[in-house]
């Protein structure tokens, strides 16, 4: 009476499986709630044609022609002037740091030349590290000047009147790899570091060695460092491999200081391994640790500016993105590698990463259960 398929047996298996599914509360909640949260979050946050990108205006003479150019640019929907009266130096720092995506420079003789009917130029420098960000904004430029001046001067386009010069800074050829490869370093480090250390304590608990470890004289700080420091070495190997590949295989320029990059990477990896450790102090099983890691991983990919332009997201999503170490690391590595930013320029990112290290370490030490309670 051996049949290949028995409904009774299948039923027994299904019943058992669904009971187990319901018992594992965390998994069950994650299966139901997480897709919904992510759908809403990403659905509203992600925008592949970013608009209202931050821009700085360098215009020594703020005359009516300048103003009409600015309002014409804003009317395209792509530009939002957050620094309408910047000096050239300040604007340079802002674009290097990634605070603005564009710097619009209107020369001081712009108005005079228009009035005289001489050809005039304005300069738009676009941060082209992410080629997709700049392209939309640049594509509208051809019609902007004409319409702006038509309205202002009341004349039909003064024959070859205004030329808009576009500089695609940092990545003039618009090579996607320049943007993606340095960022991949962050993503790869995040995946391995957080996942490995998130198992650190749950593995001890599951194998029953935690009880023994706790019965011996080791302090929570020692246990944490003992767990996370070995992964710094793994991280170091990854860093070397990715940076070499970026240079040799993908030809990504390394303009800034290598020491600064390595310093930033060290802070980032420290933040990650300690974050993983925090996860392992709140998880009961390795399975849970994995789930929490992935729950953290996906939004950080989406909202950090890795997959989609950070500046293209709505303000609330940008604020949310700030809670991920990856966001700050991407800013830092892109600024330093591609734009040659110095330590002062990326000081905010360095400070943010340092803050993550300290906050995560504090959380880990507070969460660590010195007893089996």
């Amino acid at each position: 009476m051996r049949r290949l398929f028995s409904p009774t047996r299948l039923r027994a298996l299904l019943v058992k499986e669904s009971i187990q599914m319901r018992r594992d509360r965390l998994t069950f909640a994650m299966m139901l709630a997480v897709p919904l949260v992510q759908l809403l979050l990403f659905g509203f946050a992600i925008n592949t044609d970013p608009r209202e990108l931050p821009a700085a205006l360098v215009a020594p003479t703020q005359d009516r022609f300048t103003r009409s150019m600015v309002s014409a640019l804003e009317l395209t929907g792509y530009y939002r002037f957050i620094a309408p009266d910047a000096t050239a130096d300040a604007a340079e720092r802002m674009i290097a740091r990634g605070d603005v995506s564009f710097v619009v420079t209107v020369p001081s003789d712009f108005g005079r030349r228009i009035e005289r009917g001489d050809p005039a130029q304005i300069l738009i420098e676009a941060d082209a590290t992410d080629p997709s960000v700049a392209s939309g904004a640049i594509s509208t430029l051809s019609t902007v000047a004409a319409s702006a001046l038509a309205r202002e001067a009341g004349v039909t386009p003064p024959q070859p009147a205004v030329e808009i010069v576009v500089h695609r800074r940092y990545n003039p050829e618009g090579i996607t790899q320049y943007n993606i490869v340095p960022a991949l370093l962050g993503v790869i480090l995040q995946l391995t570091m957080v996942m490995m250390t998130s198992m650190a304590l749950t593995r001890e608990t599951e194998r029953g060695t935690m009880e023994n470890l706790l019965s011996m004289p080791a302090t929570p700080l020692e246990i944490m460092l003992g767990k996370v420091l070995p992964y710094l070495v793994v991280g170091a190997v990854q860093v070397v491999v990715v940076l070499l590949a970026a240079r040799v295989i993908f030809g990504v320029p390394l303009i800034g200081s290598l020491a600064l990059i390595l310093g930033g990477v060290l802070l980032f990896v420290l933040a990650l391994v300690i974050l993983g450790y925090v996860i392992s102090t709140v998880s009961r099983t390795q399975m849970q640790a994995m789930q929490v890691t992935f729950f953290f991983f996906l939004p950080s990919l989406m909202l950090s500016g890795f997959m989609f332009p950070y500046r293209g997201m709505p303000q609330w999503a940008q604020w949310l993105g700030e809670i991920f170490p990856l966001t700050h690391f991407l800013r830092l590595i892109r600024s330093v590698m591609l734009k040659g930013a110095d330590a002062a320029t990326v000081a905010d990112s360095l400070a943010a990463l340092t803050a993550f290290v300290l906050v995560f370490a504090l959380m880990a030490l507070l969460r660590f259960r010195r007893t089996l309670d």
Partner: protein, 307 residues
Amino acid sequence: MSDPAISVTGLTKRFGTRTVVDDVTLEVAKGEILGFLGPNGSGKTTTIRMMCGLLEPDEGKGQVLGLDILRQRNAIKRRVGYMTQKFSFYEDLTIEENLRFVAGLYGMKPARAVVRDTLADLGLTTRKGQLAGSLSGGWKQRLALAACVMHKPDLLMLDEPTAGVDPKARREFWDEIHRLAVGGLTVLVSTHYMDEAERCHRIAYISYGKLIAQGTVGEVVRDAALTTMVLTGPRVAEAAQQLRGASGVDQVAPFGNTLHVVGRDGAALRATVAIVAEATGCRAEASETSLEDVFIQLMGQATDNMA
């Protein structure tokens, strides 16, 4: 007499609404081997964990080696050796690596020499490179014990150390425990085995979280005040059937061809047994009450708070 090694009063531990350890008061003298007995789930492990600083008691207080169990957990950890019920060294480390790890955590110096001596004592020098996970149950137990006493603790807590270990290894294990106790070490060992209980200086019996008997084996048996009769004959199975639930009979347990009958009311038991023995043609005689009889009796009397 000097201060006791363990002196705890009113230890209580609750997990949710369930009281797992209920008002346990216990004293263990220095150099004494105390057997900690009780059925599964009676709170033995929880009590031990509270005393070695791994769990925080909800109520109660006490001292271990003169150190406060609530406030001086770290100091206690340095002077206590705790052997967990389940093998809890690293199975993916070799024997030597495990010992090195322990030596390092306790800051033993010179670690290399301590580990070498321990390996030699264990007779594992030639197998030091073997993964701990590949050892048999008996060897794992010996390794765990060696690792627990390597830092020369003043108190050893062993949680069911001989579960799943063969009789010869158990015998050797107990010989070792006695050797250590002679050297001044205090030992608290939990067990299910009656023969092991009899090798302890004193025993404490815990059931459903409550400590219900303690003393030497003789004292515990005497305090239980049970009467035991042994029946022999060809029809003991029939006799057993008649005796179960009969007046004065609390326990009926076949042992091979004999039948042990135990009861609290001696006179009633003797009367009942005499009648049944007569009817079934068995021979009945008085016998010593064993520790096991006492424990079965205690288990039956304790109120079940797990239901």
